[in-house]
Symmetry: C2
Subunit: 604 residues, 2 copies
């Protein structure tokens, strides 16, 4: 691997480690009397010590002879020691925190490394955004492995983004020290249809010897999935049924079983391993997206491990899924993923195997967190995103309510397409509803839970606006708006009232983006996300969690009863997932990848 | 991986494969109705087709739609299809065949790739020898992955070799397309003692991102083994007890369970996985050395798989040990080791899982062997080793019987050190015997099975001769000689009679090296190995097996009752294995790495 994710590369440390293992030189740290979760053999080995030097493991076994006068000795008192947890697919932006604060939130939960796909910021700021987050990551002990966003825009031709990454741009990042692969290739239609540009992006990654991560969300597991895997894509976190995950593992693809804040797939997909007698080396556990509330209240991979055990996965097997399996997926198992000699001393001390409570976390041999708090010294210089990253609301002037008008085109009533959102699922459904014209326009109908939705281009002042209708939120009045609107992160507004929709849009324009709830022309609650309209670099996870909780109460105040509505809403415009989505260019049928009219012509 | 071991790299093939998987382009070959040994999940999946294009797998499942008018269709009739077998550690020279003939011997047994450590030829001819074998390998469909010999000489300072590979020499091979790693680091004393040169060799390999293979033959599995693994060494084939192999797997080292022609470790080491509830992903099966007779009569990895099953290893688990586990060990699982989309179409069709009889072998999608015979067209130009490679017997003139005289140094009798060889084991023991002087010299004593042994330097006409005694062969008269004498491959002679020893030495000098049995001043049988004194480039495996069988009868004729005595004899001078060995410089205690006198002084 690159030398980026360890204190000293193995080729420099090996000789010293061999000396320490034999007691000729003292260890920096010795952890005594652990119950070692051995992810290589799947065993639990009692009374095991670990000796550490230069941030790497020198010896696993009896380490009494490695202790010198200066050696720090930690008595584990028989507690369980596991390799540090690795999240094989994560978008930090979803936490609304910038990287350092994200690290502060997850490291105490045992996470030592993440495979970060900075796809969201790239849609707003391009490679500059990727660089900024990568740069910020250097100030944290968390190992932030970058996968270069592959699909910016997500579905070319269907939306306007702040940036566009061409194959050459992506190829240019492959030599970066921080880059270990390609971010989720969500343009599976491009892969399946043989689109040359899409395949070139994959090819450039493979040629650089790096890992291509995937996103294949079709229920089809035959010719299509085979084509997708054959293209060189190594892992995928988009399984929602046990048969999806099983099919992927059988095709030699790492099935990254997901338990994110807004989509709880594990209940279903865990059955791929609990109901089948399979070798589980191709199964991983990932979060994909984690809401600040989840991080603050439930944890990160420790929470997902608890969920996996609840679903019937053996605890050691589950731990393999966030350690060695993930490291092998990325060909980084020479350095990461197991507590064995030569590896980075990235480890987690667990109180027990029932609650999986994390007591201590070491990264590169240094204590990074203890009892839920970071202990690693904060970076000497705070990281501030540059102004350019905070001026991304480019709407070309105030938004007026006329921008949300849906013309009835001379009809008195007509059937329209309605996007149905489903709580905690990524998919949407296309529904139909007959609306009646008022003043020559179609309006929201809160009685039938049909709200108006709009996506306003916000990167380049193009003035483009996509209009549609949505059901599932249950809002009775007012409007909500968000610049967290996958994947183009344009300004998404949903409301019962055009005027409130305009107020919501302008409220976000004013603060550089974020989330807002408006009622009766006034802001009920606003969460500012000034960094690219996605993150706040001045909030802790707890503060952000509280702000978002307050926002949740505002949503409730206007009638929404959905859990985590923000992330469900944020996917309204995600044009790479079925069935129907709305972008700044209009309604997209994501099964056929065609724009479709709001009014259903053939039934008119 | 490099582009060397596939027909087309995945980054060039991916787009076409995706088209084939979906039936937009026809497959080159479709294999229908297999029972697929799925090494990813450890399952057997009935009624599975495989579609192939550009030498790679496009689809696994139902491939009816991939068949075009030109597609070759093979009906497997429900037979078992497994990934092609990979041997993670092998010295081709031990077969006495050169690479193409070796390939002709093993490919029909299901072997599609070997990790070749051309350590023997390197000791005679240096990197030139490595290049020659690598060059020859290009004329065979067998994938010959090279690991650069790490220890030439094996134990510096204890023997004279034809060449010496310095760290810079080794580093210079790392960019070679054919080189995937470092050959077995048998200088574990150097690793353990912190020898800078030895660690530099490992470091250069790690820095190049390639795999360091190991050789740790101590029974110690604590501090020493930890030190060895911590140095960056990823696999080891030197386990002889189940606890050795288990300790390695627990330390994240691939335990390459060995079943070679001359050492049958599997009976013991298989217990590491059959008697422990362990994840077996860190276990592999390797041959290390295969005698021509074994290849001709028993097979290669198919034979080792049968042995593994006999020892109680589940057959699918065993197949994982010669496919995906090996590929993962070398970080080559993106291309090799499983029948999954995108991988090289290297596959084996098995008649059944009981006999594991290999019916067909495909390499890069082409039928390479069928029913025990190669079907791949032979290389258009036969490969001939250059003269330089065939003139390696440099003894500086005829050998006289005086060269074998062991002076009694004025004693009438004295205790001497005797090397005890053990059939089918790599270890030797140090024994003592009191010999009585005749004519001022110590002679062989066939009544007590004590024979004289001599190692004559044969690379550079230095005239150096090491003398000793050996027990275990049971020879009653005459002499035997060999230039296959690990690892320096000097001229090794064992005999009951000094005159016959001289005749044997001269007989080999004459033919460029090989193996010979002499009785009463006459050659009983001789096997010529003119290429570096190690291989014959004009014999088939069957011919070589017959010649060696004849040699065996000659051994028997002079009294030897040992099975495979050649390879046991060949290790007499292997100064990196315990306990006592003989080199051209004298007797070496391989526990302490010190020269020891033949006559035991302290007891004299």
């Amino acid at each position: 691997m690159t030398t980026k994710f360890c204190r000293v590369p193995l080729w420099e440390a090996g000789r010293t480690l061999a000396a320490v293992a034999q007691g000729r030189e003292p260890a920096d740290t010795v952890i005594r009397d652990t119950r070692l979760i051995n992810v290589c053999t799947g065993e639990i080995l009692p009374h095991t010590d670990v000796a550490i030097r230069l941030g790497r493991i020198a010896l696993v076994g009896d380490a009494g002879h490695c202790i010198g006068p200066e050696t720090r000795v930690v008595d584990a008192g028989g507690r369980y020691l596991a390799p540090g947890f690795l999240d094989g697919h994560i978008h930090v932006e979803s936490s609304m925190l910038t990287v350092r604060e994200y690290a502060r939130a997850v490291v105490p939960h045992g996470t030592v490394g993440i495979y970060m796909d900075p796809h969201e910021i790239a849609n707003v700021l391009g490679l500059e955004g990727v660089s900024l987050m990568t740069e910020e990551a250097e100030g944290t002990p968390l190992k932030v492995m970058v996968t270069t966003p592959s699909c910016v825009p997500a579905v070319p031709g269907f939306e306007d983004t702040g940036a566009c990454l061409e194959p050459e741009d992506i190829a240019s990042t492959m030599p970066w020290d921080s880059v270990v692969g390609l971010g989720e290739m969500m343009n599976f239609p491009g892969i399946l249809s043989g689109d040359e540009r899409t395949h070139r992006i994959v090819a450039e990654t493979l040629k650089a010897g790096k890992t291509v991560t995937g996103h294949y969300s079709l229920p089809e597991t035959g010719a299509g999935l085979n084509a997708y895997v054959a293209a060189g894509i190594r892992c995928c976190h988009e399984s929602t049924r046990p048969e999806d995950a099983l099919a992927k593992m059988r095709l030699g693809m790492y099935a990254q079983l997901r338990e994110g804040s807004a989509w709880h797939d594990l209940h279903e997909v865990a059955r791929s391993v609990t109901e089948h007698e399979v070798d589980t080396r191709f199964a991983c556990l990932v979060s994909d997206d984690a809401h600040p509330h989840t991080l603050a209240e439930q944890g990160h991979l420790d929470h997902i491990l608890r969920r996996a055990v609840e679903e019937g996965i053996d605890v050691v097997t589950a731990i393999q899924m966030v350690t060695i399996n993930c490291a092998q997926c990325f060909h980084m198992d020479d350095d990461l993923g197991s507590v064995t000699p030569g590896k980075c001393a990235d480890m987690v001390l667990l109180e027990d195997l029932e609650g999986l409570k994390v007591r201590k976390v070491w990264i590169d041999g240094e204590l990074a967190a203890e009892d839920g708090q970071m202990t690693a010294p904060p970076s000497p210089s705070p990281y501030r995103y540059p102004d350019r990253a905070k001026r991304t609301m480019n709407l070309g002037g105030p938004v007026t309510e006329e921008r949300f008008a849906v013309s009835a085109a001379g009809r008195t009533q007509a059937p329209v397409r309605v996007i149905e959102v489903v709580p905690e699922k990524v998919g949407t459904f296309e529904r139909r509803a007959v609306l009646t014209t008022v003043d020559g326009q179609f309006h929201a109908d809160t009685q039938r839970d049909i709200l108006k939705a709009a996506v306003l281009e916000r990167h380049r002042e193009t003035g483009k606006t996509g209009l549609g209708f949505v059901t599932g939120f249950g809002i009775q009045e007012g409007a909500i708006a968000s610049t967290v609107a996958h994947d183009a992160h344009n300004l998404l507004v949903v409301g019962a009232d055009d005027r409130d929709m305009a107020v919501a849009a302008n409220a976000l324009a004013e603060c550089g983006g974020g989330l807002v709830v408006v009622r009766g022309g006034a802001v009920l609650c606003r969460v500012a996300l000034p960094v690219a309209g996605l993150m706040n670099d001045e909030r802790t996870a707890e503060e952000m969690s509280r702000e978002v909780a307050e926002l949740g109460r505002a949503w409730e105040a206007i009638g929404c009863r959905m859990a985590s509505p923000f992330m469900t809403m944020a996917l309204l415009s995600l044009a790479c997932l079925p069935e129907l989505r709305l972008t700044d260019r209009g309604l997209v049928d994501c099964r056929t990848f065609r724009f479709v009219p709001l009014i259903v012509e053939e039934e008119a």
